[in-house]
Symmetry: C2
Subunit: 320 residues, 2 copies
């Protein structure tokens, strides 16, 4: 089943958000329009808007107010991707040239600034103080995460805790907040929106671990960038951490950097795949997924609940 099929009943609302995203980034600057549209049309799964909408179903669902939360969150996510690509020197994202590679770092910087500024406009339409505080805190964590990610690069003496903190900031927090703010904007009570926050957090952790596994196991075509890109850029992900438990493999991993011979890289990737690290990573991803599903147990048994479960399961099992 395709991801979009799971939430097909939301299609008209998602289409509305898609349209609103295009309106949101519209500016009088042709270069800015082109760069922003380039980014948005690269698409992605719009996971955050989907979570916002589904979580809002646990309250008083009104697409006209909920859409502002969804648009704000997707724009924040998009802006952070543009700046991430600068930090990671990434040339490809979802198979398309990144803004920093198609234009340059400066263009990427200010396109990110602009999209982020636009997201603020949508945030101000959410008339709820608590929502603002939750979101601004998440944005601080997101930016601190940017920096931690650089600091932790090629730092091979790190532990599971460092990794988990990093992916929390990078991915899980914004998904958690998408769920929580969707519910808050729909006026859901705190015991509901806090559960949805935790659900989003666990799903986000599982999602990012799966992403980090796929960087090793998926094909270049599926990834839209070469396999092993994370390792090559010095990003120490979960499979790498597990693989380094073998001292001999660890020594070879430590020697990987952007100048490494591609044949050697390929062999290291194969050995990481063969040493059990992928299975261990899947197991941890699955534990987070299970925790996510447990949170749903405590929520009303609605069709939104079922859809969130389907999405969580899809995310846990996805192949790319």
């Amino acid at each position: 089943m395709k991801f979009k099929m799971i939430y097909s009943f939301l299609k008209s609302d998602i289409d509305l958000i898609e349209k609103e995203l295009k309106t949101a980034i519209d500016s009088r600057s042709p270069l800015l329009n082109e760069a922003s549209l380039h980014l948005l049309s690269a698409g992605g799964k719009r996971i955050r808007p989907v979570f916002v909408l589904l979580s809002a179903k646990f309250g008083d669902y009104d697409i006209n107010s909920i859409k502002n939360v969804a648009v704000a969150l997707e724009l924040i996510h998009s802006a952070s991707l543009v700046h991430d690509d600068v930090i990671d020197d990434a040339d490809l994202r979802r198979g398309k040239p990144t803004i920093k590679s198609q234009w340059d770092n400066k263009t990427a910087m200010y396109t990110g600034d602009y999209i982020f500024a636009r997201s603020l406009e949508y945030m101000t339409k959410i008339e709820n103080e608590e929502a603002h505080k939750i979101l601004s805190n998440a944005i601080v964590e997101l930016t601190v995460g940017e920096i931690e990610q650089i600091k932790d690069k090629y730092r091979f003496e790190q532990g599971l805790k460092d990794y988990l903190r990093r992916i929390k900031r990078k991915t899980a927090l914004l998904i958690a907040v998408s769920c929580q703010l969707g519910a808050i904007a729909a006026g859901a009570p705190s015991e509901i929106h806090r559960k949805l926050y935790r659900f989003g957090y666990y799903v986000g952790m599982s999602f990012q671990i799966t992403d980090d596994i796929l960087d090793f196991t998926a094909s270049e075509k599926e990834l839209g960038k070469p396999a092993g890109s994370d390792l090559l850029q010095g990003n120490i992900t979960l499979p790498v951490l597990y693989a380094m438990n073998d001292p001999r493999l660890k020594e070879r991993i430590i020697n990987v950097n952007e100048e490494v011979d591609r044949a050697i890289l390929k062999q290291v990737i194969e050995d990481i795949k063969g040493c059990g690290a992928i299975e261990q990573s899947h197991a941890l991803s699955f534990r987070y997924l299970k925790k996510a599903l447990e949170e749903l147990e405590g929520l009303p048994k609605t069709s939104a609940n079922k859809t969130l479960r389907d999405i969580a399961n899809f995310i846990g099992k996805r192949k790319f």
Copy 2:
């Protein structure tokens, strides 16, 4: 008279804000702390906080709530400076190495992101929907301004309108908003905070024009960077626009770029200074200053009013 002398009666409140700024940027990342502190301690005049406080005096002044507005605005301003230096490839600001020159563009990008994110936390403490809308709109304009500034670089066929729109976005808008939000946060009525907005706007325009004049007339020591830096970077400021009314001077100006011989640059600067362009620029700056003072006429004759007038006059006459 020194700038700080004018508002000496605000000293304890400004000191409080200074302390709060340091708290605001505190993070667990040593690099980030260092870069952010480097930026904040380079200081600047804290014009925006001063305008916030003085404008708040037209309402129910409570430093504990007003300080959040002042800190948010100064952080937004600081964040935008860091990104501006990336865009302008500037190595010096206020006589100190910029973050992008002391570290690199990436560090500058995420330090700016981080400081900006912190400013949002202070914004959320302002419990006023109108304030949020005004500020988010100003931030959008600020980022659009970043881009327009790049687009307009070395574009010698531009007019006064382009220049004025650029400095509005770059400087005047945030000063206008500082005045307006200070008053709004203090519960001042709309006829007051709108007047203060216009006052700030006019002062900001006058301030930036003076800044652009000083780039030609002040010494390298006063500027903290070489004179004529704007022209060298292709930023077409008001004195340049006026100087280009002389076709022969225009041709020589057009040939200035970052590779130009320094002796030729020096002569072009001298000729811009000698052709009347500086006097014309002063005249326009003075017209804005006069409009600013007229707005104050319509406001209660308080000591805050007098101080705003003193600051405006100081800004109009400052030598560096």
